[in-house]
């Protein structure tokens, strides 16, 4: 038994490319994802064409500051606007028409914002942010004038954020990426060591030997789970906690337990992949083919509420959805394992079904070999 387990572990450890990829995914990739994703624009290039040249227009321009924006480039010539946009030198151009100050005090000033929509996300984010800057400016002007009136009805909004008090988006993005890495590696790893048998032609030797396919798959599952859990523990301690400084709740043991349950589902999917793939190179493609819809259904990219009704119903079959719910529940909300138990049982059930299905498909495939 130990010999067989050792064999599978050796298959993993001796595949240098695979090990490097896994190490990268569990360390740098998560770090990059956490640091790289920002929902606030950063150092966006902006130009301003100020026709008004009044004290009010200057006050507005002064509010366009870093870190969201670079120092605005002031232009004197209207034709310059097109040139800058065409050369992609600026993402945004703010046009302040002459008479801006006058109209402002009359109660009806307008501004023009020109946006380079090539990079739609950046354009959307930065123009929205500029909008909020202008709103704040307008509010400031209004307040100045309203200060004389007493008893004006006002609503003060003071949000209090739970579970992630600083509303760090690096926390969400980092954890999200972590779950994705676990899912991807959880599928690739068992599939990779299973496809080796086909590539070496050793599966025939296994088939004619007294060893059953069930035992073989079980060993592959155990070996890849051991490796995966070790990587999860490592990444949890050193990347999430130490390097990124995430304030994680729940214990690592609880999290490993959840991951182990999830491993039954990813291994099952891996067996399905390995029963279709012919070569190692096809595993990557097939993994993506399964991973992409699973991710869509998991709420990793899009909140499930934003999905159409029929798709939302389908989220029940995405094991990743359970894993993310459980993981976020444990790590961010700090829910106890007792609270999460029903969902864990459902994940275990789904995992068992997938594993059984993977086993049957793989068995059918190898027994029909030519």
């Amino acid at each position: 038994m130990w010999q067989l387990l050792r064999k599978e572990l050796l298959h993993i450890l001796r595949d240098r490319g695979l090990v490097i990829f896994i190490l990268y995914a569990f360390t740098l990739d998560i770090h990059l994802a956490a640091q790289g994703f920002k929902l606030i624009p950063e150092m966006v290039s902006i130009s301003v064409y100020d026709e008004d040249r009044s004290s009010r227009s200057r006050a507005l321009v002064e509010m366009i500051t870093s870190p969201a924006f670079r120092t605005p480039e002031l232009i004197d010539d209207r034709r310059e606007i097109d040139r800058l946009l065409n050369d992609s030198r600026t993402v945004l151009t703010l046009v302040i028409p002459s008479g801006f100050q006058r109209d402002l005090y009359r109660g009806g000033a307008s501004l023009q914002v020109l946006v380079d929509g090539t990079q739609s996300t950046a354009a959307y984010l930065s123009s929205a942010y500029l909008g909020s800057v202008i709103e704040r400016y307008a509010e400031g002007v209004s307040m100045q004038r309203l200060e004389m009136i007493r008893g004006l009805p006002r609503v003060g909004l003071e949000p209090r954020i739970f579970f992630n008090p600083l509303a760090r988006d690096d926390l969400f993005e980092g954890i999200n990426e972590f779950f994705m890495v676990v899912s991807l590696i959880g599928m690739i790893l068992p599939a990779a060591i299973l496809i080796r048998e086909k590539e070496y032609g050793t599966i025939e030797q296994i088939l004619i030997s007294p060893l059953s396919i069930r035992r073989l798959l079980l060993m592959k599952m155990v070996a890849s789970s051991i490796f995966l859990l070790a990587m999860i523990a490592f990444s949890y301690q050193f990347v999430l906690k130490l390097w990124l400084g995430f304030p994680l709740k729940g214990t690592i043991h609880e999290f490993l337990l959840i991951s182990l349950v999830y491993g039954t589902a990813t291994s099952g999917l891996a067996f399905i992949i390995a029963s279709v793939a012919r070569r190692f190179s096809q595993i990557g493609m097939l993994t993506i083919a399964i991973f992409a819809p699973m991710l869509l259904l998991s709420g990793g990219w899009v909140p499930p509420e934003a999905l159409p009704e029929w798709l939302r119903r389908l989220t029940v079959v995405s094991p990743m959805k359970y894993y993310m719910d459980l993981g976020i529940g444990l790590l961010i909300r700090g829910a106890g394992i007792g609270l999460l138990l029903p969902k864990m049982l459902r994940l275990l059930m789904l995992g068992s079904i997938l594993t059984a299905l993977g086993y049957l498909l793989y068995r059918r495939r190898v027994l029909r070999m030519e």
């Binding site: 032609g201 025939e204 296994i206 004619i208």
Partner: protein, 568 residues
């Protein structure tokens, strides 16, 4: 036939050496390749055959001096590229798998600037000669190994090269395809004066060459005409071994235990009316066989004849659609039988990322061989495979011959009652092949092991107690090699080898109904009831002088093709 020009050599090597990553692959090679001849580069794996051919093709740098038609290969290798064709080792390596047969040939013609007017007649002739004509539109990836290899040759020849370089062109292809391949080569040499340089590890192919160069560990140990070595009844293979071993005996692998593997049943294998279909294709068609205990039994046949399918049915990897098979009285696939068989597939099925020792241990685990027993057998397997001291080497770094021996060792680790070997010697050099067979014979004699072997290499048929020749899913001949040869003689007459002093006139013998096959400078002649006097009379009447004329044992290849064609 065109008279051979005894002109200046077309390729000349003087002290050519090559080093790869500190390993001396070729050391001081002197070589002369004569025009319009077939020169064979013969040698074991890793002796430098491929490297030598690559240097000739101008794709490798080297030390020393090499000339190709007077052009210095070290300096101006670009200039010769449209005068030669090179076919690398490995089946279908130079082909585009997504193109059809015809498209592949057209492509190779196009890159060598052959105009369609010159291309088309040549293409038709090549397709006709290789039997590929009916498959013009078939994609290369849907061709069998033999067909791919023949197409590769067609692609190399369509540019009408002056020199053709072939690296192990007949490895892994069946005898019929091999024969066609040699017919094309002989035809091009005779009609177009093509010069052929080919690497091979098959000795029977070496006999078909005009000149041979034996390589061993990067050096030339013999260079000359094969006839110089073939005295009297001694074949080239014998001569080569004597030279290679230098009077030493091939080390004998003793079996250090006195076990008898025994099925308990007098018939090790019995196959009754077995058929197997793949969709509508009939892979096996009512096979009847009975193989006795301790027998070394060979399954021979062209690609797609059903040899591998039959073996897979016997070991339980495939289930026949009708008929019954019992192995040592047991049903294939049953747990009791699984313990009692060993199997080595064409790909040697070892774990490439595990070490030699880890592979052996794993096989031990699979069959429950452990403790002292495992240690004893591991020592034996290491000894047999010549891998003692290399236990920690990762298997994928081993040369092919060693992998083959290790795979054989692993397959016998559980001392099976019946051992199945599917093309175990494909691509393995002559020395390794010889010691392999010695080992197989010993397993059968000392342990009473039954061994079932499939092979393309017909020379190996002689090592079997009995052989079954298969074609299109049927057994078309079943007997000992001697009896099959006797049956051939009975029906086709004796085979004579003639070694004339100068090449024969075309049609000299064929016009008299005598079959002729060229073997380098020699010819094999046969006809029913042919006697030596008749040949002598022909030779005298035309005043043809010859070195010798002698009766020979019919080559197994001729026997094989005879049985194949007899049944249509």
């Amino acid at each position: 036939m065109k008279q051979r020009t005894e002109g200046p050599p077309i390729i000349v090597f003087r002290g050519v050496s090559k080093r790869f990553k500190g390993l001396q692959v070729l050391r001081g090679i002197d070589l002369e390749v004569m025009p319009s001849e077939i020169t064979g580069i013969i040698g074991p794996d890793g002796s430098g055959k491929s490297t030598l051919l690559k240097i000739c093709s101008g794709v490798l740098s080297f030390e020393g001096r090499a000339e190709f038609m007077g052009t210095d290969l070290g300096k101006e290798c670009e200039r010769i590229k449209d005068r030669l064709s090179y076919m690398p080792q490995g089946i279908g390596q130079n082909l585009y798998m997504e193109l059809s047969v015809e498209e592949n040939i057209d492509f190779f013609a196009a890159i060598k600037d052959v105009p369609p007017g010159r291309r088309d007649p040549l293409k038709d002739r090549l397709l006709e000669a290789t039997g590929l004509a009916p498959f013009r539109r078939r994609l290369a990836r849907h061709l069998s190994g033999g067909m791919k290899q023949k197409l590769g040759i067609c692609c190399s020849l369509v540019s009408g090269p002056e020199v053709l370089l072939l690296d192990e062109p007949s490895t892994g292809i069946d005898p019929l395809s091999r024969r066609q391949l040699w017919e094309i080569l002989n035809d091009f040499v005779a009609r177009s004066g093509t010069t052929v340089l080919l690497g091979t590890s098959y000795m029977d192919e070496a006999e078909r060459c005009h000149a041979v160069v034996f390589l061993e560990a990067g050096g030339v140990i013999f260079s000359g005409h094969p006839e110089e070595l073939m005295e009297r009844e001694k074949g080239l293979e014998e001569a080569f071994f004597e030279m290679l071993l230098g009077g030493r005996e091939l080390p004998v692998q003793e079996i250090p235990f006195s076990a008898r593997v025994n099925g308990g049943d007098p018939a090790a294998i019995s196959v009754e009316g077995v058929s197997k279909y793949f969709d509508s294709f009939k892979a096996l068609d009512g096979i009847e066989l009975s193989i006795g205990q301790g027998e070394v039994f060979g399954l021979l046949g062209p690609n797609g004849a059903g040899k591998t399918t039959l073996i897979k049915c016997m070991i339980g990897l495939l289930r026949p659609d009708s008929g019954t098979i019992t192995v040592t009285g047991l049903r294939p696939g049953s747990p009791e039988l699984k313990q009692k068989i060993g199997y080595m597939s064409q790909t040697f099925s070892l774990y490439g990322d595990l070490s030699v020792r880890e592979n052996i241990e794993l096989y031990g685990t699979l069959y429950g061989v452990k403790g002292a027993e495992l240690r004893e057998r591991m020592g034996w397997v290491l000894d047999v495979s010549g891998l003692t001291g290399m236990e920690r080497t990762i298997v994928k770094r081993l040369p092919l011959g060693m992998k083959q021996r290790l795979a054989l060792g692993c397959a016998t680790l559980n001392l099976p009652a019946v051992l199945f070997l599917d093309e175990p010697t494909s691509g393995v050099d002559p020395v390794a092949r010889r010691s392999f067979w010695q080992f197989i014979r010993r397993l059968s004699e000392r342990l009473g092991m039954t061994v079932i072997v499939t092979t393309h290499n017909l020379v190996e048929a002689d090592f079997c107690d009995r052989i079954a020749i298969m074609n299109e899913g049927r057994v078309i001949a079943l007997d000992s090699p001697e009896n099959l040869k006797a049956a051939f003689r009975e029906s086709q007459g004796e085979v004579y080898e003639l070694y004339p002093e100068s090449p024969l006139e075309g049609g000299l013998f064929t016009s008299r109904g005598i079959s002729v096959t060229p073997f380098g400078r020699r010819y094999h002649l046969w006809k029913k009831g042919l006697r030596e006097e008749e040949i002598k009379a022909v030779l005298d009447s035309t005043g043809t002088a010859c070195h010798y004329l002698r009766r020979i044992r019919p080559p197994m290849e001729d026997v094989f093709i005879f049985f194949l064609q007899r049944r249509g």
